[in-house]
């Protein structure tokens, strides 16, 4: 049915699935300490990496590598230069001259304050995503085994981030998450598909994207590898083919603070807390009810009938009387609602989709419960081939943009950077006069993050080829001499 055939056996399984059956998950953040041994480790680990579109899977392993990680593994500078600038600069960007500003990573979320990935922290070279059915003894044993295998080659730069599965795929504020997940061409279609599949090139190198062009793919010189496939022009070897970029951000959620704020804003005329009102306000901020039911379907109360609905648009709610213009899901995916009209809007939106693979961490906390002092949040993970046009665009031009779609001062009420003071407002259109929340605080803070490359099987193979010794120095196959280390 689909014209596009993906080389699925070459593509890491995370592209196709977040492995929902694997309730347990651990992210390991690693730094290369010995290039030759790290490559040997990668060679050995390759057999365990999960590839393909699987419906049945046991424990899974996926490996992603940052720009400094590629260098640490021996990729030479000219090859690294074929990667886009934003990937090379990384999420924190060396001088913090603009990327943190445009992404809203400021104040308490500034890279200088991050627990990992920030300028004050060691470089993160390799991300290991290890998921298993249950957080049991066998999962722990597997984790210990991996640690033993990379010992001496890589070291952990931060305690492992253990994720959990909250019931019904909820995130910590209590809302069902990840409903509007794009499907792409070549992927097995879902029975309830509500939109036509996005072009595969938005999420994988080597295939046409939404502009009917192949995204420019990182490459190495023709002589660098015998195994990598050739680029379309035949002049180089394609390192990107069947790979993609992985954006990882650890987002800490202040659950108690969020619900306290909603309760405060929803106080009745008599000054008493009204939990139903707070729930209504929070749902207005999100654009869905906790069950996942979209507000455009059920504006007045949570209706679990609509809980997984993704087949809606904003054509009957152009001014946001049901779902506010500034609601999180409307800003993150405006569907048909952007200027100048629905057709143009759908085109623009399809060119900015991301595949989300996030997982929650930290213990659950009930709505309206007092803070328990525990850290919790979301390890936000998304896939895209053009970080600048997809992830960064959504973050900068939609979520953090207070002028989104004719608004004035409304940043995203859930994840916006909420400039302190009067700046952060949230407008709830209503007949005949709007409601407006003023002085919204920031309840989601960035605690770490990095841009990673999620290589194909062939690319991982290339990066793990044995290091060769030349002239008494170690040289990698990627170049005869450019990227050497002293033996």
């Amino acid at each position: 049915m689909n014209a596009v055939t993906l080389q699925k056996h070459e593509i890491q399984g995370l592209v196709f699935s977040g492995y929902p059956k694997n309730e347990a998950g651990t992210y390991l953040l690693l730094r290369v300490v010995d290039r030759a041994r790290a490559r040997a480790w990668l060679r050995a680990a390759l057999g365990e990496v999960t590839f393909g579109e699987l419906t049945e899977y046991g424990a899974t392993l996926n490996i992603a590598i940052s720009a400094p990680g590629l260098t640490a593994l021996g990729l030479d500078a000219p090859s690294l230069a074929t990667f886009p600038l934003e990937f090379r600069e990384g999420l924190r960007e060396k001088d913090e001259a603009y990327r943190p500003r445009i992404l809203g990573d400021v104040g308490d979320s500034a890279p200088s304050k991050w627990a990992w990935g920030g300028p004050a922290r060691p470089e993160v070279h390799v991300l290991l995503a290890l998921f298993g059915p249950k957080n049991d003894a066998s999962f722990s044993a597997r984790l210990a085994e991996h640690r033993a295998r990379f010992a001496g080659a890589l070291e952990e730069v931060h305690p492992a981030i253990e994720t959990i599965s909250l019931p019904d795929r909820r995130e910590h504020f209590g809302f069902v998450d990840g409903i509007a997940q794009p499907r792409f061409e070549g992927q097995t279609p879902r029975s309830d598909a509500s939109e036509s599949p996005i072009k595969a090139g938005e999420f994988l190198f080597g295939y046409d994207n939404e502009f009917d062009k192949r995204p420019s793919s990182p490459s190495v010189s023709a002589s660098a590898s015998r195994h990598l496939p050739a680029t379309p022009d035949g002049n180089r070897k394609d390192l990107g083919l069947n790979g993609t970029f992985l954006v990882v951000r650890q987002l800490e959620q202040d659950v108690a603070g969020f619900w306290r704020s909603m309760a405060e804003h929803g106080k009745g005329a008599n000054g008493e807390i009204d939990q139903a009102q707070a729930l209504w306000l929070a749902s207005k901020c999100v654009g869905r009810w906790p069950s996942g039911a979209p507000l455009v379907r059920s504006p007045d109360e949570d209706d679990p009938e609509w809980r997984n609905d993704n087949a809606f648009d904003y054509s009957k709610d152009p001014r946001g009387f049901k779902c506010p213009i500034g609601a999180h899901i409307r800003k993150a995916n405006p569907r048909d609602s952007l200027e100048p009209g629905p057709d143009e809007s759908r085109i623009a939106t399809r060119r900015r989709r991301i595949v989300r693979r996030g997982r929650a961490y930290g213990p659950a906390l009930a709505k309206f419960a007092a803070d328990d002092g525990q850290k919790r949040g979301l390890v936000f993970v998304c896939l895209n081939t053009n970080i600048r046009r997809q992830f960064e665009f959504i973050q900068q031009s939609w979520l953090n943009n207070e002028k989104f779609s004719g608004l004035y001062e409304d940043q995203d009420p859930i994840v916006g950077d909420q400039t302190p003071g009067y700046g952060a407002t949230f407008t709830i259109p209503a007949h005949p006069l709007r409601r407006r929340l003023v002085g919204l605080e920031r309840f989601v803070q960035v605690r770490g993050g990095e841009y990673f490359f999620l290589p194909s099987k062939s690319a991982l193979g290339f990066l793990s080829e044995p290091v060769q010794v030349a002239d008494g120095r170690l040289a990698t196959p990627a170049s005869a001499g450019a990227a050497e280390v002293t033996a």
């Binding site: 900068q396 207070e402 004719g406 004035y408 007949h431 006069l433």
Partner: protein, 469 residues
Amino acid sequence: MGNNARALPQKRTGSGERRAEQAPISGVSAKSGRSVALDAALAGNALTIVCPVLPERKAELVALLTRFGTSIDTTTEMVFDQLSSVHFMRWVVIEGQTPEQPAQLAFESNYDGTLAQHLADLYEHGARAMHLIYRCCAGYPFADAAELSEAQFDGAFSFLLANEVDYEAFYVGRRGKTMRQIRREARLRDGIQRFLDGLGSDPMRHFGGDPAAAYGAIVAFLKQNHGADFEALSEPGPAAPTRNIAAIVVRALPVAALAIPLGPVLLGLYALLRRKEETDVPESYDVVPAEQTRLLAEREDFQVQNQLTHVVALKPGLFRLLTARAVLYSITTLARFYFNQGNLGGLSTIHYARWVLIDGGKRLLFFSNYDGSWERYLGDFIDQAHVGLTAVWSNTQGFPRTRNLVQEGATDEERFKAWTRAHQIPTQLWYSAYKQVTVPNIGQNSRICAGLVKQPATREALERWLELL
């Protein structure tokens, strides 16, 4: 402005259209408080001045402009905030195409009123800055003077106008709005919101659900706290522009009439175009050095709006020059008579944009003052306005490959963006009179203020007005 307005020295002949927009208005004196009915054309005009820089003073000029540009709010040599005629303004140093060609200083402003009033305004609030800047340029008559006396202003004006360049195409997002109106209406809208916010998150509760009570309270609040702005609303301003298809037809007819006898020639020109399109060399992906992108990106996204200065050489030969001019003439005609309602072919983010030919038609200079991020601006170009843009820039060097003048080109997303960054240059000094106001905000503020001037008559009309807030 006003008091310093003086008769302009004879300006060299510009295009007829420009001159018509500059028709003087009698008895203008904002300071005397006399209300004057301004013609729509007297809001948001374009001035472009391009002059060679003295090589020995180039470094000084760049440093000076950069200093002003990074301290707009505190610079004493020009008190930007006091300027009463300017919407957006910039100075940018453009390198020569060859080592022999001196760098040039380009100035663009989008101003209200007559040219004489605009220059008087610049010198009233920034004579020292103007003098320090143009002292670095060739042909400036007072290069050796430490200070500029008021008696020398006429000489300075003559110098500036001698270097004026006409635009090929000019777009105004909100025609017929003066800068002071835009600021005033934004203040009033903000005032209303602050007032309502003071009544809690659900202010309608406060008015017992009565729209007339809400309206009355808002008006009373504004009269009390924003009296001057509120009173000024009833002063007549420039008329709002309307779409004028007839004017487009009038301009298109002679072209169409020529096209019939010239049919064979046009076919030949088309064949020539197709051959050129096949053989022109597009730039490769990696033409943009990382440093260039960083240099530009580091200066972006500090406020709601951004600017872009772009300069690129035309492909050689008369054919490309004439094609570019014809396309730009079509754009400027459409921009003036059709796309005058806050959007340009689907783009609703542009406040002011213009194309100017420099170096005797060898290079095409583009200035834009737009809302939001560069990535969004370019994305809008590609998603919605690629036909017009491809038609213009396919006549310039390195542009992604096109077909039939308007096809492909800008839709080659990665190449188009790389090409744009590669020919974009850093702007040393850029000023916006309303940093927090977008084009859609201007329109919405106007609708809100229209309801303040004349109370909506019915309950339904009152409710519709309240929904604007």
